[in-house]
Symmetry: C2
Subunit: 120 residues, 2 copies
DNA sequence: ATCGTCTATCGCCGATAGACGATGAATACC
DNA sequence: GGTATTCATCGTCTATCGGCGATAGACGAT
């Protein structure tokens, strides 16, 4: 039997450059993005450039502790980079990781939408 | 001030055809995909074509009630279509919705990665 | 040394997710 | 009619999420 499935597209069937994520890794990154507040945080940091927690708190309407936890989720998922700059923290968007998520989900969708090609 | 943010890319800034999702809608669809089992289910249904719950249960290793709930999550998110065919249910991949998620997240990523263009 | 600021973490809470088995409804088959 | 099959839903259990306030640690400024 041919065990090729679209899910394999996540692991990189030599279709694209180097983008490859396991099912669990992809799910983890999607989960990090699957929250309106975190989408907003990513969006804001993209606009602000490298910034600290306080800057983000000033943008979104939540308590500092809540924002700090959302930032941690995004850092753990690899979507933000983190650096300790003295008193402050510096969060910066990881463009490559975000682009990778987009690329992998796009490849996954394409593999799902053209299933008849899976036996090529 | 210019209030344009990458998050607005989700709502469709006339960049692409007709793809447009609110932040909450995008988050909801991402959340539906943000689970390894559901990624696998989507992948399997893409390969099998229209199929019933029992078929999916045979593919993934979980109880029928668990699979049924995962299918419901995917249907509620609009990623699967549902039809009651007599004794069985018929689940089918919603290619358009899946492609839309991929397109929106790609546009979001692009807007985040090129923030200097937000003032164009 | 002390004060103020910024941050991460802790504890707490209600709500939700995700797994399961059991049950009942609807259908197909004999 | 009676039985088997398929499925959705219910209840339960546990773990996690997502919010908050409080607090402690690190740092800069005075």
């Amino acid at each position: 039997m041919n065990t090729s499935h679209p899910i394999d597209a996540c692991r990189g069937p030599a279709t694209a450059e180097h983008v490859a994520l396991s099912s669990g890794e992809l799910a983890a990154k999607l989960a990090a993005l699957a929250h309106p507040t975190r989408l907003e945080i990513v969006s804001r940091i993209a606009g602000l450039g490298p910034c600290c927690c306080k800057d983000v708190v000033a943008c979104v309407g939540f308590a500092q502790s809540t924002v700090s936890q959302h930032l941690k989720v995004l850092v753990d998922a690899g979507l933000l980079s983190f650096a300790n700059k003295g008193q402050r923290s510096c969060y910066e968007l990881n463009h490559e990781a975000l682009a990778e998520v987009a690329a992998v989900i796009t490849r996954f969708a394409e593999a799902c939408c053209v299933p008849q090609l899976k036996d090529q």
